[in-house]
């Protein structure tokens, strides 16, 4: 109980902004997926901070870790499917540049 909750929230928001920045600015699909993972991690950290702020002195509140576990699980699924799509995309286009995905452009 040594770290204050505000510091954890500041760290989470920093991580989330960095992830969003990478998601919006980068053009490499792999880096974009990595940024998504960063944002999910920041959300996990927020869950844990909330759970810790709500727990009493003798018992930790366990809702936050459970939800974080679900988030980790969804992140694992997302990474597997996303990277499979990256490989399929690469086989078609011979690049991992997002600018090459213009087939649906009107």
């Amino acid at each position: 109980m040594s770290i204050p909750t505000e510091h954890i929230l500041i760290l989470a928001s920093l991580l989330f902004s960095l992830g969003a920045l990478g998601f919006l600015l980068r053009r490499n699909v792999i880096v974009v997926l990595a940024s998504v993972e960063l944002m999910l991690n920041a959300a996990n950290l927020t869950f844990l901070a909330g759970s810790r702020a709500h727990s009493t002195s003798d018992a930790l509140s366990m809702e936050g870790p459970v939800f974080s576990l679900f988030v980790i699980l969804v992140a694992a699924c997302e990474a597997a499917v996303g990277l499979a799509l990256v490989i399929a995309f690469y086989r078609q286009k011979r690049t991992v540049d997002l600018e090459a995905a213009t087939e649906l452009k009107g």
């Binding site: 792999i30 990595a34 003798d58 459970v66 694992a76």
Partner: protein, 177 residues
């Protein structure tokens, strides 16, 4: 630790090569695991190291290395496609198995505590005990839904890889058959 995590996250976004950025991501995950540990969530720190730093990082590094090493010869890419489908499918199933195994380990610990050490550990003091208690009573339905999601992901990734392989086989002609 927070500073290390933020610095590595910055590295993810600004580094030029995807390899560097994925390795920076690994550093960020590990630093976050230590932060979880400092906050008192041992089980989640373990899960973070196993699933993120272990399984997801293996997937990322595998894809980065595969795509960097691939050349444009068609024969090479046909072989690569065959290899690819199998390895990707098995990696995805490994990932799912790791996550499910960890959840099951949580449950096993719960039962061991309930059966063996009756009353010697008060619930709520042991982190894994309380995680399992909440997970298997209040959040049973999301837990089941998560297992269905893992199965769907496994099948979906295999389908993606398999269809690609079939197309490449057709494109290559009768040499393979």
């Amino acid at each position: 630790m927070a500073a290390v995590s933020v610095a590595c996250a910055l590295g993810v976004v600004v580094s030029r090569s995807p390899m560097q950025s994925v390795l920076n991501l690994l550093g960020s995950f590990l630093a976050l695991a230590v932060v979880y540990l400092l906050m008192g969530f041992q089980f989640l720190a373990t899960a973070q190291v196993l699933v993120y730093a272990g399984a997801i990082m293996v997937l990322f590094l595998f894809v980065v290395m595969l795509l960097n090493l691939t050349d444009k010869e068609p024969a090479q890419s046909w072989l690569m496609g065959l290899f690819n489908g199998r390895v990707l499918g098995s990696l995805a199933s490994f990932l799912g198995l790791a996550a499910l195994g960890m959840l099951a380990a949580g449950g096993a610990t719960f039962e061991a505590f309930e059966g063996g050490l009756d009353g010697s550990h008060e619930g709520g003091l042991d982190p894994i005990y309380s995680v399992a208690e909440v997970l298997f009573s209040k959040y049973m339905l999301p837990f089941e839904a998560a297992s269905v999601l893992l199965l769907a992901t496994m099948v979906g990734v295999m389908l993606l890889a398999k269809r690609e392989r079939g197309e490449e086989d057709l494109g290559q002609g009768g040499g393979a058959a």
